[in-house]
């Protein structure tokens, strides 16, 4: 999966699950997901479960940190690095 595919997938999932009714253009690649309160801890776990399933990766408990998941751009980088290492 390339970075654009991962970004699109993560964006669609976040909009559908956690931002119902939001205009897609308001959610940018750099919108702060955790520090701006868009994803709470339970939502983060749901997102991680979705990424694991649809990208075929396994995310270790220690990797559930804001540095990996705080924006769509960070998510794409993180998922790509996981895919490269498997």
């Amino acid at each position: 999966m390339n970075a654009i595919q991962i970004r699109t997938m993560a964006k669609d999932f976040i909009l559908k699950e956690f931002l119902p009714g939001e205009r897609p253009e308001n959610l940018t690649d750099s919108t702060e997901l955790i520090t701006d309160g868009i994803l709470d801890s339970l939502a983060t776990l749901k997102l991680v479960a979705y990424l694991e399933k649809s990208c075929g990766i396994e995310i270790a408990p220690d990797e559930l940190v804001p540095e990996n998941l705080n924006s769509i751009a960070q998510i794409a980088n993180f998922v790509q690095s996981k895919q490269a290492s498997t």
């Binding site: 939001e22 701006d36 309160g37 868009i38 983060t44 408990p61």
Partner: protein
């Protein structure tokens, strides 16, 4: 063993078990013995004396849960001052309000948060001394800080203060209906009467390993901190990040062989539903304690199946009294049961009764407000004499704290929770005044009207906000969530937002909450 002051629990255990491990940071694995913790908190005490902190003062704690924050807490008590803990991740303006309201003389703060806190305090014209601890200085930020500031320090009296049992020990701020948090004033006797009751119920010894999941500003932490340290047991400090990570928490429970777990039901549900608690069958847990909200029976049943040998206690009580009733969950839960379990009987260190609006006893079997008197009942609210007297019913039988919780007394003095008589709700263990959410959102320049309501659903309580905007258009949901994240603690964030052209009004032109409750 009853003590006059809470820090005596640590001092006595340090004499008895100097080499025993007192506390472990569950994520880093760092640990400290009783002897070391006692000595480190002595150094905090001496430092506070040198900078002019006196018995009766308040000192703030704005630190992540750690060995450092534990030593700071005991150092503050040893000066004879009261500690005022806040959520270090909450908006700095809210923390500054609390510290200013309480008139703290000094604040221990994580150095990365010191500048924003100083800025917010300055806006309130408050200038308490900031004592910054820097975690990038190495694994012992407190020892490093003390070594730096204490070099060549003047000698001070090296005995700990011996406060009276009715002196202030800690102030816990909870959500306030007027939009600002209010400080619950608790004394050494308030804390120790509860700790001693826990000793009777849990019968802990030096082999026990307690979890400490709740942050220090949350009243669950009183049990977590003082009960294990009283008995020479070990407390495993679970910080903010680990506390949200169910898989890692489940490993800590199993690998560290914890014997007593205490948290909100939400955290236990998270452990069963998203952790790997069920993959391990060798738990050492003797007790699973929960408090702060109703535990949905569905999740409790699953938890009992995973950890069948532990005893399960439902603990109930507001911050103003801490735990005042308890109920032991029976060994087997009937298959068809869906009603939540009762909050139970009055603990032995309190008296409880059910009263009406005029303070008269309500007959058994009828709804009324639960009122509590006895040793653990708070002094009052900081700087709020009117709110304090409104919270109590005083008659010839004593001074009764009105909990605001509507209950029914059943057979054997067992109370069942029925609801609230005001606009306070509990979600994931936290008290939330819906008015505080409304006040925060009214500060948004585009919002003209706001009303927050709470709904009870099978999965727990959810909070919905209805709002109208100045230009009649809906705001971006991202913008609303961002505004809340920067103006309210995370635990108060609404679950849903609904834009309306105008909010429905009653005939007296007030917002019609009954109507909103019926809206989808």
């Amino acid at each position: 063993m009853t003590v006059a002051a809470l820090h005596e629990y640590l001092e006595q255990s340090a004499r008895r078990y100097p080499q025993t491990c007192a506390a472990v940071e569950a994520s880093s694995g760092r640990q400290i013995t009783y002897g070391e913790l006692d000595a480190l908190s002595d150094q905090v005490r001496d430092h506070l004396r040198r900078i002019g902190v006196r018995p009766g003062d308040r000192v703030g704690i704005c630190l992540p849960k750690s060995i450092a924050s534990l030593a700071v807490l005991f150092g503050i008590l040893k000066v004879g001052a009261a500690y005022v803990p806040v959520d270090s991740l909450a908006p700095p303006a809210r923390n500054a309000f609390i510290f200013n309201d309480c008139g703290v003389r000094a604040i221990f703060v994580e150095s990365s948060r010191a500048e924003t806190l100083r800025y917010e305090l300055a806006r309130l014209a408050a200038e308490p001394r900031l004592l910054p601890l820097d975690w990038s200085d190495g694994p012992s930020p407190l020892a490093t800080y003390l070594a730096r500031v204490e070099a060549g320090g003047l000698a001070v009296e090296d005995e700990s203060a011996r406060p009276e049992p009715d002196n202030l020990a800690y102030v816990l701020y909870t959500s306030g209906s007027t939009g600002q948090p209010k400080g619950v004033m608790l004394t050494h006797r308030n804390g120790s009467s509860y700790v001693d009751w826990c000793s009777d119920i849990l019968a802990p010894d030096e082999n026990d390993r307690f979890s400490s999941h709740a942050p220090l500003h949350f009243d669950l932490s009183i049990l977590d901190i003082f009960v294990p340290l009283k008995h020479g047991a070990t407390v495993f400090l679970i910080g903010e990040e680990l506390g949200k990570n169910p898989t890692r928490m489940a490993s800590v429970i199993a690998e560290r062989r914890l014997t007593v777990w205490y948290s909100t039901p939400s955290v236990l549900t998270l452990l069963v539903e998203h952790g790997s608690l069920d993959a391990r069958d060798d738990h050492a847990l003797r007790f699973i304690l929960f408090a702060g909200e109703v535990f949905p029976v569905k999740h409790l049943r699953r938890l009992k199946a995973v950890v069948p040998r532990a005893r399960y206690l439902n603990l109930y009580g507001p911050t103003e009294t801490n735990v005042c009733t308890y109920y032991e969950i029976p060994q087997t839960i009937a298959e068809d049961r869906s009603a939540p379990f009762p909050i139970g009987r009055a603990c032995s260190h309190v008296k409880a009764r059910v009263i009406d609006a005029n303070g008269r006893n309500v007959p058994r079997g009828q709804e009324g407000e639960l009122a509590i008197s006895g040793a653990p009942v708070m002094l009052g609210y900081w700087n709020m004499p009117e709110r304090t007297s409104a919270a109590f019913h005083v008659d010839s039988s004593g001074r009764w704290y009105r909990t605001g919780d509507v209950v029914i007394e059943g057979d054997g003095g067992v109370y069942t929770f029925r609801g609230r008589r005001d606009r306070m709700v509990k979600r994931r263990g936290y008290r939330i005044e819906l008015g505080e959410i409304e006040t925060a959102l009214y500060r948004h320049p585009a919002i003209s009207e706001v009303a927050a309501i709470a709904r009870s659903e099978e999965s727990g309580v959810s909070i919905k906000v209805f709002y109208a905007s100045r230009d009649g258009h809906a705001l971006s949901l991202i913008e609303l969530k961002r505004f809340c994240a920067h103006n309210l603690p995370a635990y108060m964030a609404p679950d849903w937002f609904s834009h309306q052209q105008l909010l429905p009004k009653t005939s007296t032109d007030k917002i019609d909450y009954q109507h909103l409750m019926r809206m989808e």
